[in-house]
Symmetry: D2
Subunit: 343 residues, 4 copies
């Protein structure tokens, strides 16, 4: 932490700040400049609310120095973490920590037994290792389809057995965690719940892998702090998911922050998955952005696929047909090879 | 809903879109322009996922026409709604629907019995009708103080009895709703939980008044849709709270969207409360923005006050001393009078 | 400037950073923390490109400490600056440095002699001291009306003589400065040109008052740096204008950053003017936001008024009728009085 | 254009809107819905200020239907445009309209004759076809290095002759256009000048190729409208440049909008160039994002390279060394091959 004093701050004000720093068991190193005095602080600043220094007389501003996350940081763990996802019949795969790039695909929502089985068949054929699909759906409107709940999870479980795919599905509240954990291989935290701390605590206490989606306007630091919540409960099986951020651009639903791929891999040891479906909102741009995600270094992709997107109950516009998905896999595979990786 | 066809869309493509519209029980009115065909759609578009029309061949774009919220809209209810808050000893007050402007004030977090009693005394003296204070605290970091939980609620209840103030406190997850509702007069939904739909459903099923904070990057339509979730469960006691939105500005913590005050009152019948503490993040700007909120037409203000902000466990920098709060009330009262209102 | 070293930075890396700091004639003060070393730097950091320190081995990040603007800062000049605007017949007014709040009003564009004379009459009657109107119009589309150019300036000059109003009009490129300065009392720099440095230099070399509009997504620091460009050429007659920033909100054209009023007055001695017309984009919200701007402490307002907004060639939706403007003035005057100011 | 009437709009209000539509020579098609009337408008809406319809009684909102740009649109020209850049000795290259991807590289600023010659040598060796470098520098601060002006252009011309590279350099104001056009093969419009309409007009009247950078917070539609300004003057040699947009992310300088690559190529026939240096602001992320840009379908890359970034006068942190640039070219070449393209 560095505390910047106002120009003209008095000796008394400076020493009163120094005293307060020492109260917290940290050490203060004032540096007297021509225009301003700056106080460098040594010690663990993480548990301290930096905001309170701004209330002291003569203080202009307080700058944190240490990263607020610890367990999620690359400093804590130098090598890439791998998250093991256990599908049926020993079909386990690793996301992260390997040259292999994992594809997760399936419909936005589980709509019927037939739809999810057909989707599972199609994505398996094309090369996916996991099946996505929502049984509990967070919808902006209370009047929209909210998902089939446990029935949807059962249909997914059937697809899981039949096709040997791992299951990725969303959990929306702490009390749903035991139920969802019983069926899912990966519990997804949606973008709108990235800072639902009660939910983060609940999945942190489960040991199931978690796909943590970045909030619509969250910074990477906030994403890593949300991961830290989960890690701090002992669940280290966390995948970070870049799914597009809100920007002023109106032509796409969101803006894929492609920078986030190398940056998150630099800041953290956790695997990084990209969701080009939500990040663009239009199926015609999923191919190009999927290739870009692979080229940027993603460890996995999660893509919306439906047997007939024009009949999808949600997100139709951003959903690929099985044929489009197969072509996306083919082209991404070529990009992966050009990077000495595999799909 | 209006569907814009691509330039050069074929007759067959147009009639296939028309068919799909009719499948949903709506009527299609194609308008053939020089460059493009546009299809006007008559009927209730709310339950329809507009996204799916974008998947049909020849479609460029789909524009919603109807507002997605109904119960929260001014069309649904022409006159201003009043939310009745019942404090002790019949000290009930109305927020909205009256020239009176309600002040809610108190510390960010309940830290101790003494602190909350002292805060209550100070804000009551200055003119506040409700005491705010967090017993469950949503914190960005798992290593920060997370609140005293039920113990904090008990201390608030004591302050409530002693000073005749209504209690405003945050609820963070569906399973906390019964507990919080037992102590609180107003349940606060925090900005990060604005689209925590499980929580919205839970407070919707309670009949307690709800203070719904706008999400950090939420549009007003999204705020109203979050309110719609609560209203659609039968709980009409909802206050909308503008607490600043995230912008590129770094000097303030958030940006108070002052436009939101007249706009929300135009779009909706629900009362509008402004939180200048979070909207600026710095105590020195709370006075000017409080005056502005009153001048813009707010029905209430919620302001952070602490006996000693420099010892506050959170949000110290944006917290007023009792003296600063009293001065803020004095100045806001003058503005209110200039608008033929009262505080 | 504070340089944060990577955790594990070597002694050699630290001393190489120290050497580079000393090359620039500044002094380095390393502080050795448990997790990281931080180097405080004393000396004038303003001319140094801080970016280059990030290229040195072992450096994590570089934080500026000093504000990059000097002449525009409150430290440079403690008391409020007044900008003198000279209208005809000695009708000079001051913006800033006085309890008086100045109103500038008129149409978006000068459309005809009759329109500008009629506008001038109406705004003068209602209490405005300056007439706004664009002769050179920056339009998003090359196919939109681009303004009447010098002819428009002549019509404004006629209105100026007839009604004793000062003239505020936009200048769009350096070569237009001499022409515009011949007619205008205040040269307006539009939001899209806030970082048109060639233009800032040109108006800096004129001595005419400048109304500098904040860029659509500019921070306050960037606005103050744009002002600094003008001041550094010797033209101190600069008014800062908050005209709304771009946010995700779709219901309004822009978002009035009401925080900017007290913040800019805290950071700078320059007068602050608010443009509620552009900041909302809808005439029905101009009244409430004008009141809010006065309550927040603005030194002036600039408002779009047209004899018949429904016939305006641009910005009709955000333009007041003369009657609406007169009512706005009446209400703002009451707010001003409640703050011991005048209009 | 579609005009949405308020619920409850009267027959008289509707017919008055219809009359106004017909005044503009367009045709009105009212559609009477259960909740609202919507009026479809047929005819060229581009020259009409849609804002004025919002001023008419009973109108809720006006939605444009036609894209506001014409010459820049894919509808205007189906096949990809190629921009011919003429270097020395017949070393001309095409950007766009070919499987070949063009690299432009060099320092942020021209600092000295030696520096620019050394840079030219390095980037030529690695495979670049054009040399970038600023002689006129738009700097946020008036106290920063502003470029060597014409002297810098002369040094670039020398490098051009010696290494057969085309020259890309920024022009900052209309009066600089003749001078810069004399030396440059490509005139760059910087992000801050994207809506400097006087400058767009001036380069539109030149026939030199233009590299048009997207404004920091500009939408793609605004970028295409800026291009339309240039095209409407007869200069069709325009390259669109995605250089990162401003977002809330603090860890990177800007956010590369990778979606923009396929979207701009869908909406427009103009070539698309990506600037990963500005889009990330940190040299360590330029490699991954360069690969991503190629994988997304960019026609060219523009990258900052300096013989010694730690001595660069600006933008050092985002600048590659010659070795890093050569490695970037090698890896991008492999990605290009995986897409059946070449570098």
């Amino acid at each position: 932490m560095v505390i910047i004093m106002k120009s003209g701050a008095s000796v008394k004000e400076i020493s009163s700040v120094v005293n307060r720093i020492e109260e917290f068991g940290m050490k203060a190193h004032p540096i007297y400049g021509e225009e301003r005095t700056v106080i460098g602080v040594v010690g663990d600043e993480r548990p301290v609310d930096k905001s309170l220094f701004d209330t002291l007389a003569g203080v202009e501003n307080t700058l944190p120095i240490l990263k607020p996350y610890k367990l999620a940081s690359r400093e804590f763990r130098k090598q890439d973490s791998a998250v093991h996802i256990f599908g049926t019949n020993g079909n386990s795969v690793n996301v992260g920590g390997s040259p292999n790039i994992i594809l997760m695909a399936g419909p936005c929502a589980v709509e019927s037994r037939e739809q999810i089985l057909e989707s599972a068949h199609a994505v398996k054929e094309a090369g996916a290792k996991a099946l996505r699909g929502g049984a509990f759906k967070p919808r902006t409107s209370p009047y929209s389809f909210q998902g089939h709940g446990e029935q949807g999870l059962e249909w997914m479980a059937e697809a899981r057995e039949k096709y040997g795919l791992a299951i990725v599905t969303e959990v929306m509240s702490p009390d749903q965690v035991p139920l969802v954990a019983r069926y899912a291989d990966v519990m997804q935290i949606g973008a709108r719940n990235m800072q639902n701390f009660a939910l983060l605590n609940a999945v942190g206490e489960s040991m199931k892998p978690v796909l943590l989606k970045r909030g619509m306007s969250a910074t990477m630091e906030e994403l890593l702090m949300a991961a830290e919540y989960i890690l701090s409960h002992g669940n280290y099986n966390v995948m970070l998911c870049e799914r597009g951020i809100r920007t002023f651009e109106k032509y796409t639903r969101n803006t894929l922050d492609i920078n986030a791929v190398p940056v998150l891999k630099h800041l953290s040891h956790l695997p990084v998955v990209v969701d080009p479906s939500h990040a663009t909102g239009k199926s015609e741009y999923v191919l190009a952005t999927s290739r870009a995600a692979v080229a940027a270094g993603a460890d996995g992709l999660i893509i919306e696929v439906h047997p007939d997107p024009s009949r999808a109950m949600s997100d139709g516009a951003q959903t690929l047909t099985p044929e489009q998905f197969a072509e996306t896999v083919r082209q991404c595979r070529r990009i992966a090879e050009a990077m000495d990786r595999t799909i």
